[in-house]
Amino acid sequence: MTDATDTAAEVRPARTSARRSGTGRAGAALAPYLQAAPMALVFLIFFVLPLAATIVVSFWQYTQYSIEPALTAQNYGDVFYGCLANLPSLCTTFLTYLSTLKFCLIVWATTLTIGFTIAYFLAFHVRTLKVQVICFLLCTIPFWTSIVIRMISWIPLLGRNGLVNQTLISMGVIDTPLEGLLYSDFAVILALTHLYTLFMVVPIFNSLMRVDRSLIEAARDAGASGAQILRHVIVPLARPGILIGSIFVVTVVMGDFLTIGIMGGQQIASVGKVIQTQMQFLQFPLAAANAVILLAAVLAGVWALLKLVDIRKEL
């Protein structure tokens, strides 16, 4: 909050000096738009246009070998075919969403727990900036290789004759190899958690670094225990970071098909996987409709999260 007032104070003299200099009013007024233009163009061409195209195509018709412009809600009908009629037993679409949502919630919980712990350690226990930077680089190591290699690397570790099973057998903990380590819900959750914990660490760390250390002393002075300080002071103040991290993780996991595909041995359904399959069969309008529904679902989730905290105020 002090940051905001500081920048406001800096901006004002800058503006008056621009007015005083000879650039002229029109040029000065245009400058910010020109500065924003490149990013706006990239955003327009690579985000807004494809999104618009997706929405348009979702209303088109298709056959086995062609797609045709039209305005039909048929695709949306197909996505939810039989969903209402067969209640209470759930249709494929609902089951798929439910499964994706399940992964989303579990991965959110694990990344939040692990991410908060790491961020807390980095912010409160690591004293020097240098060590903090080194620790951050360590956290980014998973991102140094391509996602496919990262996925494949789990196989020698978790496979039937992988490192984990062999170690457990040689230690005498188990007699036969554990089957559920690879190509299972567990593997999917493990891989997703491994991938996206950093998305939690960074924003939470950022929030924690802004927590005035004297607040913690003030809480201790008022007789708060360690757990109480965490619950009543640190977590509330880390809320913006937790929220931003949650938005990252939820959106990424909801749309994931690669990790769930590979780590689930192509046996676990996810919304992303459904869309990918439909695209392989050239059912573009149907895939588009599915994508629009997924987008709406994710946006609804983000909207709900944003209701919990005023991001503009907190930043």
Binding site: L215, A219, R220, G223, A224, H232, P236
Partner: protein, 332 residues
């Protein structure tokens, strides 16, 4: 409010690695008195306060509050409460919840704790602001809230870390008298860290002047002002001239230095040239350079000065009453 307690430091030492921040200081603060720890930045006054509060470990020596050694007690068990320099109000809580924080930690029900917070806010005249958040308050208001929050734990000793330094001069004077009023109303021990000698003089029953981790002098304000023990103390509290006279180091209050008319110049102790004249309203400060190269300062009443005005650059004779000279011991 709980009973006031004495605070006693016995050879308390604080080391940060090899650096010695507080060097075996011993001090006894009477129960119910207002004590100011005074000194330049880095003199160890804040470390001392933080050790009494329990926010800093004691490297050596003992801290006693009342009859108990509290070295290893957590802050809340010491019966102390601290008011932080930056106020350290919780930005996510309302003013009332800030004040009620310690009760919430004890598990007091919401209605009761807010009731008690309201009573405390009355003491600092902040009742109307109970529902605001700290960032909606001015510096002075935040400070009142911080004070109320600290008093909520019913401490027997209140510790204040440069409480007035963030306020503008006008408010500082007002809050100063407010602090004094609240202290005498509650009757508990206040320990107040400041680098302003004016603040210490105005507030304290006991002024403890610190320098380089040691106590340079601890005494009542009047004694400190009239009989500073070392050149450091004399310089730090200001308004003093330090000079060598007949082989002794003496200090003279600036208002004890008199500038003689020419007629009586023969009986003067020093001759000097006026290097500076500063008009200050109630008085006038005259800067003097003696023949021996000492810089002295005389302060004259406004009317006295203008009865026979002096000009910069003129030569004058200066003198003082022998009983005004106070001998200093060496620093350290």
């Amino acid at each position: 409010m709980s009973e006031a307690q004495t605070v006693e430091l016995a050879a308390v030492t604080k080391r940060y690695g090899d650096a010695l921040a507080v060097d075996a200081i011993s001090l006894k603060i009477r129960a119910g008195s207002y004590c100011c720890l005074l000194g330049p930045s880095g003199c160890g006054k804040s470390s001392t306060l933080r050790m009494i509060a329990g926010h800093e470990d004691v490297s050596d020596g003992d801290i006693l509050i009342g009859p108990r050694v509290v070295n290893d007690d957590p802050p809340a068990a010491r019966g102390t409460a601290m008011m932080f320099q930056s106020y350290a109000l919780f930005p996510h809580l309302s003013v009332a919840e800030n004040v009620a924080f310690s009760l919430r930690m004890k598990g007091v029900a919401k209605d009761e704790r807010l009731n008690r917070a309201a009573r405390m806010l009355e003491l600092v005249s902040m009742t109307d602001f109970a529902d605001r958040t700290p960032n909606q308050l001015s510096g002075g208001q935040q400070q009142r809230v911080a004070l109320a929050r600290a008093l909520m734990t019913e401490p027997s000793v209140l510790l204040l870390d440069e409480p007035l330094s963030a306020l503008d001069p006008f408010l500082r004077v007002r809050m100063r008298s407010e602090l004094r009023r609240i202290q005498s109303e509650l009757g508990i021990t206040f320990i107040h860290v400041t680098h302003s000698q004016e603040e210490a003089m105005a507030l304290a029953d006991l002024v403890v002047v610190m320098n380089e981790g040691r106590i340079a002098q601890s005494a009542a304000p009047r004694e400190i002002y009239n009989a500073p023990r070392t050149p450091f103390v004399a310089r730090f509290i200001g308004g003093h001239n330090i000079l060598e006279d007949e082989g002794r180091t003496i200090t003279l209050r600036a208002d004890d230095l008199s500038i003689l008319p020419e007629a009586r110049a023969s009986e003067a102790r020093r001759r000097a040239r006026i290097s500076e004249i500063e008009y200050r309203g109630p008085d006038v400060r005259v800067g003097l350079e003696t023949e021996a190269g000492e810089s002295l300062t005389a302060v004259m009443g406004e009317r006295d000065f203008f009865d026979s005005p002096l000009t910069r650059g003129s030569d004058v004779a200066i003198d003082w009453r022998p009983e005004a000279a106070h001998e200093l011991s060496r620093d350290g």
